[in-house]
């Protein structure tokens, strides 16, 4: 073997070692990160409204340093720095907050990868239905070192939901069209709840059955023909908090175009107003109560604790 070949071999081995180096480094970081997990995070960033609410509900609010741009509740969260949202998290801003825990949704693959490259501990979760909400609260409690508080909040939600379920259980189920939105001033492009998702689950707890139960999607666009054919006995519509009374009255009148629908004929159209209605967080109990009040007015007073 001449000197030339020897140099070449040394170069190849050296290059191979250089290639492996990041992995060695990363393994070390991984270990350090796991170790960090055992401590209570002091600088938490959450970009999803539901999780931000959960963090505050379990008492981790003082440790939250950044929230998503759609996070307005509780008011204390609204005052924190906004760092983008589910689809457009502002990575630089998040880094600048020096977080020791970032809560991410499982679908944020790119964001998760970037956080991992920056060795920032993450808490990831995914929601498919109602049961996931209390489960996420409990897991979040473990991750931030507030297991007991989280357990209390989650158990409280489950107890309240059970109470609502029990009070309307004896009553006949109301076939309900749960409308998330439609074209303003018309019955075109109606988005309704299908047979899955937390809002569907809340409707069932509140003593309703979903008019589109058989469609296993969280949200479906339905035609006027389907509204007529499914003949819902009640219609629940969800509106933003800042919707005016005049607007609600106008939107309510639009349903008169389909007078044969039992809900329209019997004037059983319920317009619920509130931004919390669509947030799969700790305030779902309120949403379930409003739905139960609408569907089963005879049990209205029994539903509210004194």
């Amino acid at each position: 073997m001449d000197a030339h070949q020897k140099t070449l071999r040394a170069l190849i081995v050296g290059a191979a070692c250089l290639c492996l180096l990041p992995y060695v480094g990363r393994a070390g970081l991984e270990a350090r990160r796991n170790e960090a997990r055992r401590f209570e995070p002091k600088r938490i960033v959450s970009v999803v409204p539901a999780v931000t609410e959960m963090l505050f509900a379990i008492g981790a609010g003082p440790n939250v340093v950044g929230v998503g741009s759609y996070d307005h509740f509780p008011p204390a969260a609204d005052k924190l720095p906004k760092v983008g949202a589910l689809l457009d998290p502002d990575f630089e801003k998040i880094l600048s907050l020096r977080p020791d825990l970032v809560v991410v949704y499982d679908s944020q693959a790119d964001f998760i990868a970037r956080l991992q490259r920056a060795s920032i501990p993450i808490f990831h979760y995914q929601h498919a239905g109602l049961a996931d909400i209390t489960q996420t609260i409990r897991r979040l409690g473990e991750a931030v070192g507030r297991t007991k508080d989280a357990e209390a909040v989650a158990a409280g939600i489950e107890r309240d939901l059970d109470a609502i379920r029990a009070r309307v259980a004896s009553l006949p189920k109301t076939r309900t069209l749960l409308v998330f939105g439609r074209e303003p001033g018309s019955l075109r492009g109606i988005y309704a709840s299908g047979g899955v998702g937390f809002l569907h689950d809340l409707l069932v707890i509140a003593g309703g059955t979903d008019a589109f139960d058989d469609v296993k999607k969280q949200s479906v666009v339905i035609s006027s023909e389907q509204v007529l054919a499914r003949a819902p006995e009640a219609i629940i519509e969800l509106y933003d908090q800042d919707t005016t009374d005049a607007k609600l009255a106008a939107e309510r009148a639009v349903w008169k175009q389909l007078p044969a629908v039992p809900a329209v004929r019997n004037n059983r159209i319920y317009q619920l107003r509130g931004d919390f209605l669509t947030v799969p967080g700790p305030r779902i109990v309120q949403a379930a109560r409003l739905m139960a009040d609408a569907l089963h007015p005879s049990k209205k007073n029994a539903l509210h604790p004194q």
């Binding site: 058989d214 035609s223 006027s224 389907q226 106008a250 389909l258």
Partner: protein, 331 residues
Amino acid sequence: MTLPLRRGLPAVAMCFLAMIAAILAAPFIGSTTIHFGRVFSTAVPFADNIDAQIFFIARLPRALAAALVGGTLAAAGVIFQGLLRNPLATPYTLGVSTGSALGAMLAITFGASLPFVGITSASLAGSLLAVLIVYFLARARHAGLSTTVLLLAGVTLNAFFSALILFVEYLSDFAQTFRAIRWLMGNLDVVGYSSILGALPFVVFAFAVFAWLARPLNLLSLGADAAGTRGVNVRSVHRWAFFSASIATGAAVAVGGPIGFVGIIVPHLVRLVVGSDHRLVLPGSAFLGAGFLVACDALARIVLAPLELPVGVITAIIGGPFFLWMLIRKR
């Protein structure tokens, strides 16, 4: 009546019959089964008669809306192809649909805070704005309407408005973006007759102009100079063709959303059969376009029942390959 004109008439009559057949058949097809005995029964009051309401409120207006939109887009396609002397022109080439899409996006995103701005009127306003901008751009460089400048102005405005749409969409939240995208796919579920009646004056006006335009467009196909020597007032024909077809397109898009490909497939199919005489191509395209969109919408309603496929998806699936075939076929 000249011989080629008479020879093409049976084909136009066939298109007419196809349209009538489609409109009559469509209300009997749907995602639910209804009892036709009860539809026309007077024993039950209309307010309680679900079958009659499905037929008269959900299905019949849809068939009529599809016919109106399909016929208008196909006829407007013929006019634009004649005006621009370009077989690949569509009713959307000159920015009308992007203008109306921008209007609709603004209504979807900011409409909640302005109580009575409907998506339909906003999209109509957007398309009219686009028409005026393109018209004045095209006139600025030329005494009449230069079709080249018209085309360039239209394509540029399309790009600019698309950019604005992206900006508006960035400002909107998930639900709004989702709704906006669905609007772009087209939807003919008009629920009742008010939006059809709203679009009708624009469409009737435009078709009256189209009827007058048929002969001058035939002469224009020889070139502007040749048409001019035969007594065609090229400048005014250009102007009327541009405005009538644009307004008709704007009205159609306001009713059904920017449903694609109808304005290009149908005119070419009709030309294959009847030749290039606008006196045949125009009515033939209007009838066949109406029948085609009614059929596409019926298909859209039943393929995925109880859900429905946006009608624009169906016309695109049929239209995309057709467009390619037209591009590569032997002349």
